[in-house]
Amino acid sequence: MSAARPTVRISDDALALACGADGVAAAFAQAGCAVERVSSWGMHWLEPLVEIDGQGFGPVTPADVGAILAGTSAKAIGPIAAHPFLARQQRLTFARAGRTRPLSLDDYAASGGWQGLDRARGMAPADVVAEVTASGLRGRGGAGFPAGIKWAAVAGAVGPRKYIVCNADEGDSGTFADRMLMEGDPFQLLEGMAIAAHAVGAQRGYIYVRSEYPHAVAKLRTAVELAAPLIAPFVVDVRVGAGAYVCGEETSLLNSLEGRRGEVRTKPPLPALSGLFGCPTVVNNVLTLAAVPHILAPGGAEAYAALGLGRSRGTMPVQLAGAVRHGGLCEVPFGISLGELVEEIGGGTLSGRPVKAVQVGGPLGAYIPPAQFDLPFGYEEFAAADALIGHGGIVVLDDSADMGRLARFAMAFCAAESCGKCTPCRIGSTRGVELIDRLRSGAPEADPVAALPQMRNAPKAPRSREADLALLDDLCETMQFGSLCALGGFTPYPVRSALRHWPEDFT
């Protein structure tokens, strides 16, 4: 070992911090090393991951520092960039992950930052919109609406002023790509927003971040300050949510920004025409806006459109979570099969037990059994299988999972987070919990309401299991087609899929 201590790179992403990265960084500093805090590579099972001259070590504790510096550590994983988890990925939105310091304007500019914005500002706004449309980029928040078409609607709308609103209310369990991007590469998001502002003629932007992400809020606020002169005259303000899951829905997010209860608005009018404060507004997810700088770089739109499957173009930052062995961020072109993601890149389950199910797309996503692992990752392909890709989160469950309990949780979650505006969601979710409880208790009791003396026409005998199942199906149908937004409308997905594939868990 030479006398000169090497420079050590350690992530300051919230997940690395939660696994003890600060302690490891302090130990290396104590040993005389220069420590650089960078973004996370997204290999979460290896966090805190330490990088020295391209070589990786992980997961590292302060006790490992001596052996790493002596070159004898058993935590060595070889060259990080060649790691099999990364080798199968194609990183566009997360091209800087692990490689740059999140709040360094120098690092950002040196890695191609601001190229897209510079080029866009030299183009007519309509041409910028046309390039985004040509790239095939679709809304990454879950709905998959073509970004270019939304932008064109805002560009063509008339209003006293226009807004760019970034939806960073990433509430789905199993998703963390927005958080990683905001913490790891905040300037890319700001660049994407500034390009959108130029394209549609907006003066102001808001980033609505959930309060559960304090690290992302702090990084964004600093980044906005640092980048303000570069994105001017466009102005961005960071706003913090207040713990309401439903505010990830775009119209309730707008209400929340305006200082109202986060209740869903009826559509029409579309936010593109009458959004924030009644003005034309682009509402896009973090990943959608962060994909834009790459698309606006020279040749970016064609390169983006060349990747993917069917109408799902480009790459998707998939998030592998739950009981998976190799959890983390996996950006791949659309078209990869679910099985490849879970079994090959994710390495199967943490416990080594068989996979029982995966839930794709957050708490409102369907549970998918391994029998359907040949399903290709794409919006239409998933929709055809009664599932959704949502925000790209995959929660892996091993065979210890109780699908009946998870179905009940889906209804209970909807009941807890419903904004209360529409009846199918507000009341249906509570009735759903009761019904699943009845099914799972196995001993049917007379419905307490039906037993009341004033309910003269109600049957007094306990409902049969078949009748309860039919009622649950009917309730799901009502919620799915009668709710105002995706919260009530998609809660039936996990319930129905669990019931279809694992009926034995409902006894």
Partner: protein, 141 residues
């Protein structure tokens, strides 16, 4: 003390677009709650009815009507953390918390590949087992 602080908070957000949530966050942080008196003052400053302000305060999980002096430990109990066994830790966590710590449920801290996870103040903790969670709760009280 109460009155000058609230006035300062209201002054700080004067003229902002959609100022109510930022104001409520600051009031909650400064006073530990958004009291009925604070609701009245905010309503007057923003030319809203008190009902409108109360409707917003009561809608969001982050705002409370009365202060709770206990330290808070937020435990994530969403699907990804369930898949990693958080439910088997809950009984021990509740026992450790007792009445001294408010053990709150949160749906997702975005650490879904390394659960079970918890948050204390602005610090997050992942890969918790029973012993780690219990010592986290005991350190908080």
């Amino acid at each position: 003390m109460t009155e000058p602080d609230l006035t300062a908070i209201l002054a700080r957000h004067h003229g902002r677009e959609g100022p109510l949530l930022p104001i409520l966050h600051d009031v909650q942080a400064a006073f530990g709650c958004v009291s009925p008196e604070a609701e009245r003052a905010i309503a007057a400053a923003l030319n809203l009815s008190r009902a409108e302000v109360h409707g917003v305060v009561s809608f969001y999980h982050d705002f409370t009507a009365a202060p709770d002096p206990r330290p808070v430990v937020q435990l994530c109990r969403a699907e990804a953390c369930q898949a990693r066994g958080v439910e088997s830790l809950v009984a021990a966590a509740e026992a450790a918390a007792g009445n001294k710590v408010r053990l709150a449920t949160v749906y997702c801290l975005g650490l879904c590949s390394a659960g079970p996870s918890a948050r204390v103040g602005d610090e997050v903790h992942a890969r918790l087992d029973e012993a780690a969670l219990v010592s986290l709760i005991e350190a908080a009280r």
